[in-house]
Subunit: 212 residues, 2 copies
């Protein structure tokens, strides 16, 4: 069976996204991109903080924002988008890479809690499970998970059971990857070669979240 | 035939939107709401200004942002949304008001130019035409169109042919309403009673854009 890697690209990487996407296209691996909500989701966060909307409305709007970021990624890279996994799999038969517009999938099944503890990191884990992918890569703008931040120590590995401190991933993620049995890597997307090294199993600067 | 009013609510009215929407619900008129892009579209504007995306990509992303604002309006008001006019008309058979999520309509037919001169004001005019509505109300956060701004004089009427200066509407709008034969009012949404006075044909503080 073909191995599919799910790669979440955080909104914090917006300015460098074109390089990251080009690198993933060239990697030769089958890659499914999950976009973060980026600055669009920050607008929702402000509405929520100003008590204009409740948690459930914020979840819906923030989910729509991941579609806008995903469309942005597609516009700058030419990579095709899909808003359902049927179409995504069909695209992957002919291409190496596809961008998911998550809202249709996330709102269709509505299995994830509606809170700010659930962000596109959890969306990515959920979609990885639906795709039977066992490897999730979360690309963000820091080098991985630190024991504390700033001035903490970067952790090569951390267990889902003991994860805490400055995690740079959402709080719901450890529960999901543990339940789904998915290996998760947190990596600095501004160094795209590190993502390639995760594909190849080569040691580099990143954090692996282990299950046991 | 039932008269349908198309009311565009600009993103600048986000903080007061719940009052405006409640007032429109109570007005007793058949109202179709077109949302602006608000702060979501400003994120797109920044990407465009930083040359991350071209005009066409910006148009697509900004169009998606009107859907997010429209969903926000729905979340705070309980008013139903529709992403096509078939469903919108069906909702209006039982309810007095509906919020359009514009991107599906605007991208489906792709009749409007892809530039920043075309914003949700033009979307609203276009959708008014499709609905055979002859009255478009643009609710914004200023009292209407001024001959100059700031410290200019508010104009009671202005002709599409001579419109210029501080218009507070997009540059493509005069062309569209002229072509479609639509009366357009620009009004301060922070005074919802002024919108009611437009419905009733009562003189109040607003600008009417005349066709001849």
């Amino acid at each position: 069976m073909v191995i599919v890697y799910v790669v979440k690209i955080g909104g914090s990487l917006t300015n460098n996204a074109v390089n990251i996407l080009e690198n993933l296209k060239k990697s030769g691996e089958k890659v499914v991109i999950i976009p973060g909500g980026g600055n669009f989701a920050n607008v929702v966060r402000n509405l929520h903080e100003n008590e204009k909307i409740n948690d459930i409305s914020a979840h819906k709007l923030a989910t729509m924002c991941t579609d806008v970021t995903g469309t942005y990624f597609s516009e700058i890279s030419g990579i095709k988008t899909a808003d359902n996994l049927f179409d995504a799999k069909r695209i992957l038969q002919n291409e190496s890479i596809v961008i998911i517009l998550p809202s249709n999938i996330i709102l269709s099944t509505d299995e994830l809690p509606c809170s700010w503890e659930v962000t596109s990191d959890s969306f990515a884990a959920y979609i990885a499970k639906l795709l039977n992918s066992k490897t999730l890569i979360i690309a963000t703008d820091v080098d991985g998970i630190y024991d504390k931040y700033p001035e903490g120590k970067l952790l090569n590995t951390i267990n889902t059971k003991t994860i805490k401190g400055f995690t740079s991933v959402d709080k719901h993620l450890p529960k999901l990857i543990s339940e789904y049995g998915i290996k998760c890597f947190v990596v600095n997307g501004n160094h795209p070669e590190r993502i390639n090294n995760i594909f190849k199993g080569v040691v580099d600067t990143y954090t692996k979240i282990t299950l046991k």
